[in-house]
């Protein structure tokens, strides 16, 4: 809920508050009535709280190594058992959640920000700026994403990035491959919006480009962006796990759900130590479902095609 209302309040800065807020309020009421979407949201919130607050109460959060309790099954002291270095799995899953959720959220915001901004600029100004931006986007879209990720992963590994900060690299990588598609879509929306009557009115009124773009055009594509952004978080969390699988993700000892599963992704752990892969696997699964369900609910109420 909190994240939602935060989104709302930022949007309310637009000058057309009275009109828009009623639409927002209406959508909001509609959303609350969607039980599936609300339960998705609830799960996401619980996940966030558990991951960001949970480890604070764990006696094992230092992640120290205990060679004498390697690979113990779940027990009273370690509710989800211990891993190959005697670290508490529950604590690590929660700490991993912090990274995975942050990566998902941040890379989404980064790519939505870049994509929306460039797309809007291209669609609004057209001409040479549009050409430059969209040709770059086309170029990036032409190259398949996994090979691109491989290259970027290797290129970025040249930077002297301590393993702890590797997550920022992952975010940047995901954002780089994420923005072109978004930019293209936003541009398309802009092109059709700028031909609409209210924009002609804005031009007649002599409003500045800057004002037209940021106060009149962008707010109109915000609902669309919110929906895409929400759905993208889930995608980014999954992408992070795939990157871990390819060894391009966040590196241990910093745990993420992806690299925790990857570490247990072998026949022996599958068979003998389900407590190593079920918790992170289930976390990804449940979180992504919840985000998608919520995003879908959002789409139902915010999608301009359906509403107006």
């Amino acid at each position: 809920m909190s994240s939602m209302s935060r989104e709302l309040s930022t949007q309310n800065n637009s000058p057309r508050i009275p009109v828009r807020s009623s639409i927002w309020k209406q959508s909001f009421r509609q959303l609350v009535r969607n039980k599936l979407a609300m339960s998705g949201l609830a799960v996401v919130i619980v996940m966030f709280i558990a991951c960001f607050v949970g480890p604070l109460f764990s006696p094992y959060s230092s992640n120290r190594i205990h060679m004498n309790i390697m690979n113990h099954a779940p027990n009273a002291r370690h509710w989800l058992g211990t891993d190959a270095l005697g670290r508490d799995v529950l604590t690590r899953v929660l700490q991993a959640g912090r990274i995975s959720l942050t990566v998902g959220l941040a890379s989404m915001m980064l790519s939505v920000f870049i994509g929306a901004l460039l797309g809007a600029i291209a669609g609004y100004y057209r001409g040479i700026i549009d050409q430059i931006i969209m040709r770059i986007a086309d170029l990036l879209l032409t190259i398949p994403s996994l090979p691109l990720l491989f290259i970027f992963g290797a290129l970025l590994s040249e930077w002297k990035v301590p393993t702890d900060y590797r997550m920022y690299i992952v975010m940047i990588m995901l954002a780089i491959i994420g923005w072109p598609g978004l930019a293209r879509m936003v541009r398309g929306q802009m092109l059709s919006l700028r031909e609409r009557e209210f924009m002609q009115a804005a031009t007649v009124l002599g409003l500045s480009n800057h004002r037209k773009l940021f106060y009149h055009l962008l707010p109109n594509i915000v609902p669309l962006l919110i929906v895409i952004a929400t759905l993208n978080i889930g995608g980014a969390i999954l992408s992070e796990s795939v990157l871990s699988f390819f060894g391009l993700g966040v590196m241990p000892p910093t745990a993420t759900w992806g690299n925790m599963i990857d570490a247990a992704n072998n026949m022996l752990d599958f068979q003998n130590r389900p407590w190593l892969w079920i918790p992170p696997g289930l976390s990804i699964f449940v979180t992504v479902i919840a985000i998608n369900v919520f995003g879908d609910g959002l789409r139902d109420v915010l999608d301009p095609k359906k509403k107006r």
């Binding site: 599936l36 040709r135 398949p144 889930g234 992704n265 479902i289």
Partner: protein
Amino acid sequence: MSTYITKRLIYTLVILLAASLLIFCLYALTPGDFISGNIKLSPERRAELRAIYGLDQPILERYFTWMNHALQGDFGDSLAQQQPVLKLFKDYVWNSFLLAIVSTFLTWLIAVVIGVVAAYKQYSWFDTLVMIGIFAAMSIPSFFIGLFLIKILAVDLKWLPPGGMMTTGSNATGLAYFKEVIHHMALPVIVMTLLGVGSLTRYFRSNMIDVIKQDYIRTARAKGMSERKVLFTHALRNALLPAITLVGFELPALFGGSLIIEKIFNWPGIGQLYMQSFSLRDYPLLMGFTMFMAILTVIGTLLSDLLYHVADPRVKLQ
């Protein structure tokens, strides 16, 4: 229309040229080269080998050499495999295609059927179940489900083979060979279908819901047309039309192979070939593969735009 196509083709060529330069530079900038992987070569031998392979030339010069040959249809020899890149493609790409075409077909079939039925029964328990299933399918880490199914279906139950494309050492031909391949491709196809079916089902469902609400459907019903006919002739056709544009986008996926699936299921496809080449910095093969994909992507996009025009003549080509 023809001027449009000419314009598009020219643009496509320009983009491909730019892409080739970009890709070439990116690969060249990737730390380490084919020679540095072999740490046990003496510094002198390394220099010698780099000279033999032309790796000591400036990037642009190397690019123009490559481009010059590529324009004549010669994509060079793989450094690791020492064979023409195009021959290697021929060896591997059809295996990838086989996997992709079957799973794509299944994905579309399942997605259309489930999507249409779910849309028709919107908000029913079936629809809710489908929605949950869709989201579940979209939330599975692909590499994880692969090994998991191998463990269950191949190792424990022994229903399906754990990997590969045919029984090792088999000399089967004709129908027997065909059967063998089907048996081996079952697992990867299941996984690929499972991973792809979610988003497509959702796409068809929402398309169908939009169409059902249209006036002409109401008209058809009002005319007393049977519900079945309304659904499958009028509604379905219109719901499927926009999907035609997706066909073009599937093109690179059909030939590009799946890096993850082929790896897990030991499938002799082009995705695996690429992965192995990357860690070895086998530049000719990497360039060849990436350009191949780039070409497929632009062709796919062009195809999509044209099909879109065919599907909906109101859309102007520009």
